[in-house]
Symmetry: C2
Subunit: 128 residues, 2 copies
């Protein structure tokens, strides 16, 4: 589970992700494949998602229930997400204010910031 072989399951899974720009669980992807008459095993879905994640093509997110969900999204430029609670639509959000926050954490807590997670939840423009 390392080399970049181009296989049908990998293409089909990438196709589902490309068609649906929101976070999907392995089971949702598997269901989408079934509906498209693509016979791919659930284990292959898991293995392929891990492969894509390790390549940096896919972002993983733990949803409220603790399930892993995935979305095509190269994190080349570090950024965060505004996730619509209604439709799941995801917009990218940059983190401009982070420098100030890092400085404030260092000054008030002596805390050396080296990573962060931010998520914004709400309602997107088309769901209002």
């Amino acid at each position: 589970m390392r080399a970049d072989y181009v296989t049908r399951p990998r293409e089909q899974i990438a196709g589902v992700l490309r068609a649906e720009p929101r976070f999907l669980s392995a089971a949702e992807i598997h269901r989408a494949l079934e509906q498209a008459s693509a016979r791919v095993s659930l284990s292959t879905v898991y293995r392929t998602l891990e492969y894509l994640r390790s390549k940096g093509d896919v972002t993983e997110r733990l949803d409220e229930a603790g399930e892993s969900t995935f979305m095509l999204c190269e994190p080349a430029h570090h950024h965060h997400h505004a996730i619509c609670r209604v439709c799941g639509r995801v917009d990218d959000v940059s983190c401009a204010a982070l420098g100030q926050i890092a400085e404030s954490l260092r000054a008030t807590l002596g805390f050396e910031l080296d990573g962060h997670n931010m998520e914004f939840l709400g309602t997107c423009r088309s769901c209002r």
Copy 2:
């Protein structure tokens, strides 16, 4: 699993959380109880953590592996956490800049913000 009965398991579990101001998994709490010769079943740990969470006494966090972890922390005033990668120590961080972020999301994306998660990771003062 609702009423506020004061039972020994509940007191013992709260005791472990009080003694350890960082996020602990159900299994870690269970192990701590064993070491203190407190015989409490793992299911009771789970049920009690859910009870404390529903009361608002405990905050739940999904760690990197997707496991649930818990910490005593009434979210009376909404805030976030600076978590030390070395020792797990947690400091509270307020979210003062959120108003501006909400305004910016509304203006640029038409996104109506109604919730957010932020986590800051790094090294605390005593672990540097």
